[in-house]
């Protein structure tokens, strides 16, 4: 059964993503891309009977309006985007049968920021460098390399989903509108460029998410950084400002200190550059970044490498069939 989804309205930067994204090409300058909230994304796929990796849509802040050419089963997870199916309220975190000709219309995200739409069978776009994930800055992957545009048509593989399946309440990420987030961080790799009182200040302060934030980087506003002596007494090859270092690779999730502005480097971030990274947000906390909005407040909670890995295993353990009722 060939199914097409017509894009009536594209929404704000709606893109095709797959899990975990594009791997094996980092050393050629390609970031991983992939869904920002990998927890909600995988659960959407599992709801409609897909492999958790299958390609789906990431909707950001303002979701799309989509018309389905044929019967299918879909699921919507993540942020609350007040979706309707032919005018009727569309339930989140649940697989739903859609009939040929029906239209799903999303609004603005009222709780959270990113929603994920899975279609039984999965979205069919060509693999580029082993992945269907969109890296729009380079025009790679997804639907013709970019976010959806009005009037495009999305091909879907044939699939047999079952409607009425729900994600158990305690297996979902706790997306709320409290505007306050506890974000885990692992100290390093360049924490020795920050003075001890600077480390403490970072961990004790509130950091406000700036509007100029996207899938490349999350800019934060907060107190001044206090650098270690090393940051000022260094070879000229490292550059002038204390936050400059000789070009080096950037871990995905690293908190990149650009002058006094920390930028969390996320899914589509550059792979290298000349600024220090005193802390790194581990993958288990990415869903919180994905679901927060400009002006939300972060407080950072230091964890060990092993604790961060255990947290990720905990989330992986929820992205399974057992989470469905």
């Amino acid at each position: 059964m060939a199914l097409n989804i017509d894009v009536i309205k594209a929404g704000l930067e709606t893109s095709v993503q797959d899990f975990p994204g594009r791997y094996g090409f980092w050393e050629q300058g390609f970031p991983p891309s992939g869904p920002f909230d990998m927890w909600s994304f995988r659960l959407a796929n599992i709801l409609v009977g897909n492999a958790p990796e299958a390609a789906g849509l990431e909707c950001q802040f303002m979701g799309p309006t989509l018309k389905f050419s044929d019967d299918c089963v879909i699921a919507f997870t993540g942020a609350e985007m007040n979706a309707t199916l032919d005018g009727e309220t569309f339930p989140m975190w649940e697989s739903v049968a859609v009939a040929a000709g029906q239209t799903l219309a999303c609004g603005f995200a009222s709780v959270g920021a990113r929603a994920y739409l899975a279609v039984s069978g999965g979205i069919e776009v060509p693999q580029v460098l082993g992945a269907r994930a969109t890296f729009h800055m380079a025009g790679v992957g997804g639907l013709e390399g970019h976010a959806l545009k009005d009037g495009q048509s999305i091909a879907v593989n044939g699939g047999a989903g079952v409607p009425g399946r729900k994600v158990k309440q305690d297996c979902r990420p706790k997306i709320a509108n409290g505007k306050q987030w506890q974000i885990e961080v692992v100290q390093g790799p360049n924490d020795d460029w920050i003075a001890e009182e600077g480390i403490e200040r970072f961990l004790e302060s509130e950091w406000k998410l700036q509007a100029r934030s996207n899938r490349t980087g999350y800019r934060l506003e907060g107190p001044e950084w206090i650098f270690a002596d090393k940051a000022s007494n260094k070879g000229p090859e490292h550059g002038e400002h204390p936050s400059n270092i000789l070009d080096h690779g950037y871990p995905v999730g690293s908190i990149n200190l650009c002058g006094q502005t920390p930028i969390i480097l996320v899914n589509d971030a550059p792979s290298a550059g000349g600024f220090i990274n005193p802390f790194t947000v581990p993958s288990a906390a990415f869903w919180k970044l994905a679901q927060s909005k400009p002006n939300d407040i972060y407080r950072f909670n230091r964890v060990s490498v092993e604790e961060a890995q255990e947290m990720r295993r905990g989330i992986d353990g929820l992205c399974v069939e057992d989470s469905i009722e």
Binding site: V140, L246, G249, V252, P270, A308
Partner: protein, 289 residues
């Protein structure tokens, strides 16, 4: 300075940064690229990606397959197997890339910055002056007089971070502050100790001294050279710029557009770090072209 023992630093839950030293000695990049090759040959369980740079290598790993502690042990084992830097032999190709130095397009880009963001002199004049060259023409002679070592391919798809292999052709220059908001595609820039070629028309901070008409990556894999790859260069390859004029630039540009352009790239050769270092030691390094 090269550290007695490499430093291992965590990057969140699935990255480790291996630092071989804390300066820009090219030996440290040779070690990072030697370790990259060793990881590939060893097919170390749990290693999923690598990202080398001047004096370090980031390794991405799957913690379900290898713990952070065990990964450190494996990395130390592979590093000790590399021996001394002089023993390294790295797989390397030499790519001849056409370059129009002092071209009109990057001149326009610099003028646009100067008009809209911050006044500055023509970049090639500025770089020539801070390096004590006679003029921009000497800068072009020096820049095209050496093979450039690809330290890493990073930041944006296919973008090579390069440094001159011939120390007599080393060029250093301060980067733009604030950076440009756009850059001519194919622009050849110099900044810090590096040279680079812009593979996307985005922002940048290097001083622009020329432009190449050939693409360094092609997601459509249209040209024959991209049959089995999307990106032209890998770390440890070398680039030699071949100066061309505007007429030839346009000729090559047309051949790229119609899909008939043939790149001139050698087969893989063994780049011996020991032989390279002997050659460097034999040079009168004060000489300039």
């Amino acid at each position: 300075m090269k550290f007695d023992q490499p430093k291992y630093l965590p990057g969140g839950d699935h990255f480790i940064l291996v630092q071989f030293g804390d300066d820009a000695s090219i030996d440290l990049n040779f070690m990072a690229l030697g370790l990259t090759a060793a990881l590939k040959e060893d097919a170390t369980k749990g290693v999923v990606d690598t990202n080398p740079s001047y004096n370090s290598l980031i390794v991405e790993y799957e913690s379900d397959d290898i713990s952070y502690a065990d990964l450190k042990i494996e990395l130390a084992r592979l590093i000790s197997g590399l021996g001394s830097v002089e023993d390294l032999e790295l797989e390397s190709r030499l790519a001849y890339l056409p370059a129009m130095y002092l071209d009109p397009w990057t001149r326009d880009c610099v003028a646009d910055y100067s008009e809209k963001i911050a006044p500055r002199d023509y970049d090639p004049d500025f770089v020539a002056e801070v390096n004590g060259f006679e003029d921009a023409k000497q800068l072009a002679r020096i820049h095209s007089g050496t093979e450039h070592w690809v330290v890493a391919v990073c930041s944006t798809p296919g973008l090579p971070l390069m440094r001159a292999l011939d120390p007599r052709c080393a060029i250093t220059s301060p980067k733009y502050n604030p950076p440009r908001t756009w850059t001519t595609l194919g622009a050849i820039g110099v900044g810090g100790l590096s040279s680079s070629i812009y593979t996307t028309p985005g922002p940048g901070g290097y001083n622009l001294i020329g432009r190449t008409p050939v693409p360094l990556w092609d997601p459509q894999q249209r040209l024959p050279v991209f049959k089995d790859r999307v990106v032209l260069l890998d770390a440890a390859d070398r680039v030699k710029f071949v100066p061309i004029g505007e007429e030839e630039f346009e000729y090559i540009e047309a051949r790229v557009a119609d899909g008939s352009y043939e790149f001139n790239i050698t087969a893989y050769q063994r780049f011996s770090v020991g032989a390279y270092k002997k050659w460097v030691a034999s040079l009168n390094q004060d000489g300039r072209f």
